[in-house]
């Protein structure tokens, strides 16, 4: 047994986290910053964080992930990291020439109280930021929230810095993407294209973290939301913010600063959440829903009715990030599956409220937990107490899946032992079809491999 020490017996844990279902803020800020064209993320802390975060993203995408660091030493940890950041900004612009440096902090610089805003302002005053170039910042203390919070904070920092209201209203809709894959960002753009709604998508990691092989390394790949697009977000008609935990701050900031109203939506995963997204998009852009979208929806529902027998009543354990979990739980309920255990390391009071809304009178069927000690050890203990038919989560789930012999669907961050997540979406109706295909594949393969010989079916 890989996790041989995990038993079903629980103790009341208050302090120990075992096998976390989250990681820390800065990696999310780094990911969000990579969705801006010509941007180099910068980690203001000791260099270990930056290396770890780059490595984590690289293992997930099998792509280059560039970022710089202030490389704190013990001296700067005591006397402040201003000199480090000022020197870094100078070095970065002269050696790597990005359009934007997006600075985030770590538990180190936050604990010592470095004021990023003040240091960046000093860099500007000292002439360290060349004409036409930008340095933006977001505080991302690792001891608050999770990686999703870091994504949220950097996205907020991005729109706060760039979005500007002018006299010219633009017939366009802002879409704030929650933490989803480049493939999902690409799918969002395809959908809005089909709908005929002009949109600005931010951030946008497609063509950044799914870049083609050309024989030439591009430090700043062609993708990413551009500065003019970011600026124009202040003049948009409406903002659709996809996923509260990833985008709420940025949506509120846009409303406050530029009076762009927003709809806070779930990530469009599954039928109903995608329905709500399509409706909101059609209203925001004042367009009707085209036949092509209706057909995609019809194909997804067709697949559900065709394959319903394989889904009905199956017990599922899920761990991951709140925005994905909300939408997935709703989707699984629509398939008549039972999301039996749901765990997210990301803290937040709205988690419980949303779970209650989604599950309604079925809330007693689900054990759920988020925040401190809501970890993979916990979900494994629950599985030991009563088993499930399917496990959904990031790569770390494979150890539970192998020990307990549970079919395992990889979803979320990080997925470091398979590819596909950066190329094929899980968002939209087409993403729903892909999720179903993958679940069916797992459930059917399990049946093929484990049923009695005389029960092996040719047609399924």
């Amino acid at each position: 047994m890989l996790l041989r020490h995990t038993t079903e017996k629980e103790i009341d844990r208050k302090a120990l986290t075992v096998n976390p279902a989250k990681t820390c803020q800065p990696v999310g800020a780094m990911y969000a910053a990579l969705g801006i064209h010509g941007c180099l993320p910068h980690s203001h802390g000791s260099q270990g964080c930056c290396s770890y975060h780059r490595s984590a993203l690289t293992r997930h995408y099998k792509e280059p992930v560039m970022a710089a660091t202030s490389s704190f030493t013990e001296g700067s940890s005591v006397f402040g990291g201003q000199a480090n950041l000022l020197q870094a900004i100078g070095t970065i612009f002269s050696v790597y020439d990005p359009e934007i440096i997006a600075v985030h902090s770590t538990c180190l610089s936050e604990t010592i109280g470095d004021d990023l805003g003040q240091i960046v302002a000093k860099a500007r005053n000292d002439g360290k930021v060349p004409e036409g170039k930008h340095v933006i910042q977001a505080p991302t203390p690792s001891y608050v929230g999770s990686h999703v919070t870091g994504y949220h904070n950097m996205l907020e920092g991005i729109v706060k810095y760039f979005a500007m209201k002018t006299d010219e209203a633009k017939r366009q809709v802002n879409i704030l993407a929650g933490w989803v894959e480049p493939s999902d960002m690409r799918e969002l753009k395809r959908i809005t294209g089909l709908m005929g709604v002009k949109t600005v998508l931010a951030p946008d990691t497609s063509d950044v973290l799914d870049a083609p092989m050309t024989g030439k390394f591009e430090m700043y790949p062609k993708g990413g939301t551009t500065i003019p697009e970011l600026v124009s977000m202040g003049d948009s008609m409406k903002t659709l913010a996809l996923g509260e935990y990833g985008t709420k701050g940025a949506a509120v900031a846009l409303d406050n600063a530029c009076k762009v109203p927003f709809d806070l939506l779930d990530l469009p995963i599954g039928v109903k959440a995608t329905d709500r997204f399509i409706s909101a998009l059609s209203q925001a852009g004042a367009v009707s829903v085209p036949e092509a979208i209706n057909d995609e929806r019809g194909r997804l529902v067709d697949m559900i009715t065709d394959m319903h027998q394989y889904f009905y009543g199956k017990r599922v354990a899920l761990f991951g990030d709140p925005d994905q979990l909300f939408a997935m739980c709703e989707f699984l309920l629509d398939l008549d599956m039972v999301p039996a255990y749901v765990v997210s390391g990301t803290p937040g009071k709205s988690f419980e409220k949303r779970m209650k809304e989604i599950f309604g009178d079925k809330i007693d069927q689900v054990k759920f937990k988020n925040g401190a000690n809501a970890d993979m050890f916990q979900i494994h203990q629950w599985i030991k107490q009563e088993g499930v038919d399917l496990l959904i989560g990031n790569t770390y789930g494979k150890y539970i899946a192998r020990d307990e012999k549970i079919p395992f669907l990889r979803m979320g961050f990080p997925i470091v032992d398979r590819v596909g997540h950066s190329y094929f979406p899980t968002l939209g109706y087409m993403g729903g079809i892909r999720i179903l295909e993958k679940m069916l594949d797992l459930l059917m393969q399990y049946q093929d491999e484990n049923c009695e010989e005389e029960k092996v079916e040719l047609v399924m």
């Binding site: 803020q25 001296g75 900004i89 100078g90 070095t91 002269s94 790597y96 770390y396």
Partner: protein, 545 residues
């Protein structure tokens, strides 16, 4: 696609390349970086600047002290709980990402697949985290009943003044198991290296020597600085078992805490990764009189050489005969593979930038394949790893490293553990020319005009590729796809790209086959589109219609 260069008449002088590289840097930085680059001349003593602070913003590949301490040295020991005191990231990122394999029998403790953290929250930063840490230790004890717990400090711990050592002492008293702390905050030192030193000190103070197991058997030694990446240590365990040498303890691949506790009862320490573990080797000699020698098991020839050196130390006819028998048998197997592959690899160019040890060791494998190492460097090695231990007296400890504790070791008070016999043996062998406590470093073994670079930056990496157009680049995960996007295959020499083992004879065969795969393939020829060289088609169906 990259056009290859022909360096068959010898490597070109890289001085103009160094000038070109630093010309992009602001002048103060250029001056600093230049000291970390050397056009190698193996005949001459040259100084390379190493183990100094990283330049902010330069895009380094370095990690931190915590990674060096928890991630590297203690992480591989399977039956202790490594509890990380800090916010969640540090524990998360060091969770199974280094491929330290371990083989625990049914019923034995194995915590390698787990990640333990106090998951500090903002209130722990404000009010201190010691109470939570103590509670976490109690909970870990209640749930897992481990033999020992190591507590690892992360950046904020030192700043807010949590005392992991005091907590360790208190909890050790309360729970009755060995509990010890490490002040391996990420900002200490300038790289992973400080973490190695802190880990060495902690293990030596708190673990080594706890169990004076009576010696039995004839040939007993420890393997220091071998972390069993991809099964490397398994390969060596099998090798030593066959020749009849008992490996008492490995620091720390496939290890248990118990084996470390009695590791001071051996006759010889052999050191694989000099950078990470030379401190323990030195301290064991100072305290117990156990000598150490440098070992290298990367490459078939290097393995034979090390085996012979070990046999010479034990000086036993039967052992020597057995070693020769195994070398003859295994070297023959390697030869068959080498003969098949070498014609495809001969003359090709490699470069490698890896941690603190492999950038040297792996040059052996490339040599055996007839390949040239045109440029190499470490992330965090010290001058002795580049230039040899002879320079140690001249190394200046700078302000960034001064606070890393250097333990003063005294001779053990237990008379029976002090190895006068080994001291005499060492003196006798040294007279015959046998080298103890020595490592000659990487530079004397590199070709003339090869370029040595310490703490290579991204900018420097790009320039190196442009200049040398190597056939293969060896580095880590952060560089892998950067380099491959440029059309140059990259072999990860930290994770082995999830393959291995690469140690000893079997490992050499694995590596040779891997090089064949990477160098013979035509996939790189798919990179250019077929229509790249065709005239562009103009017009369109709509216009023509």
């Amino acid at each position: 696609m990259v056009k290859k260069k022909d360096f068959s008449a010898g490597l070109p002088d890289p001085t103009p390349l160094i000038e070109d590289i630093v010309s992009k840097y602001p002048s103060k930085i250029a001056k600093k970086r230049k000291k970390g680059m050397v056009a190698n001349d193996p005949e001459v003593d040259q100084e390379v600047q190493a183990n100094v602070r990283t330049i902010p913003g330069i895009i380094t590949q370095r990690g931190c002290t915590y990674a060096g301490c928890k991630g590297v040295v203690l992480g591989p020991t399977r039956d202790i709980i490594n509890l990380v005191h800090g916010p969640i990231g540090c524990s998360f990122y060091a969770w199974l990402t280094r491929r330290n394999q371990t083989r625990a029998a049914e019923g034995e403790d194995n915590f390698i697949m787990y990640s333990f953290s106090t998951d500090m929250q903002d209130e722990n930063i404000v009010f201190g985290g010691e109470i939570k840490l103590k509670q976490a230790v109690r909970e870990a004890h209640a749930l897992f009943n481990p033999k020992a717990i190591g507590i690892f400090s992360t950046c904020p711990v030192g700043l807010i003044g949590d005392d992991v050592h005091a907590v360790s002492r208190e909890m050790k008293e309360e729970l009755g198991i060995n509990i010890f702390g490490f002040s391996c905050e990420g900002y200490r030192g300038v790289s992973q290296s400080a973490g190695h030193h802190i880990a060495n000190n902690g293990v030596f103070k708190n673990v080594v020597g706890l169990n004076d197991r009576p010696r039995k058997g004839k040939f007993q030694m420890n393997l220091l600085g071998e972390y069993n990446i991809g099964g490397d240590a398994f390969e060596l365990e099998a090798l030593f078992e066959e020749v009849g040498i008992e490996l008492i303890s490995t620091f720390s691949g496939n290890s248990t805490i118990k084996s470390m506790e009695y590791s001071h009862t051996v006759d010889l320490n052999i050191v694989m990764c000099h950078r990470s573990i030379n401190y323990i080797a030195e301290m064991m000699e100072e305290k117990y009189g156990i000598p150490w020698i440098k070992a290298n098991f990367i490459g078939a020839e290097a393995t034979s050489k090390t085996l012979r050196k070990v046999a010479e130390f034990f000086d036993d006819a039967e052992l020597t005969a057995k070693v020769e028998e195994v070398i003859a048998r295994e070297a023959a197997k390697v030869q068959v593979v080498m003969d098949a592959i070498k014609p495809k690899t001969e003359g090709k160019l490699a470069m490698m930038f890896v941690g603190g040890s492999r950038a040297h060791h792996y040059q052996e494998l490339f040599k055996e394949l007839g390949m040239h190492t045109v440029s190499a460097g470490y992330e965090f090695a010290h001058r002795d790893d580049y230039e040899g231990r002879k320079v140690i007296p001249s190394i200046k400890i700078d302000a960034d490293t001064r606070n890393i504790e250097d333990l003063t070791i005294e001779k053990t008070e237990k008379e029976e553990l002090w190895r006068e016999d080994l001291i005499a043996k060492k003196a006798k062998l040294e007279k015959e020319g046998y080298q103890f406590s020595d490592y000659e470093g990487m530079m004397p073994e590199m070709e003339k005009n090869s370029l040595v670079i310490d703490d290579v930056s991204h900018h420097e990496t790009e320039k190196l590729i442009e200049f040398y157009k190597p056939d293969i680049f060896c580095a880590g995960i952060k560089e892998k796809y950067v380099v491959q996007k440029s059309g140059v295959p990259l072999k990860q020499l930290h994770s082995y790209d999830y393959g291995g083992p690469y140690t000893a004879f079997g490992g050499a065969i694995n590596f040779f086959k891997e090089m064949e795969r990477m160098l013979v393939t035509d996939v790189w020829k798919l990179v250019d589109t077929p229509w790249k060289s065709e005239p562009e088609i103009v017009g369109s169906m709509t216009i023509n219609a």
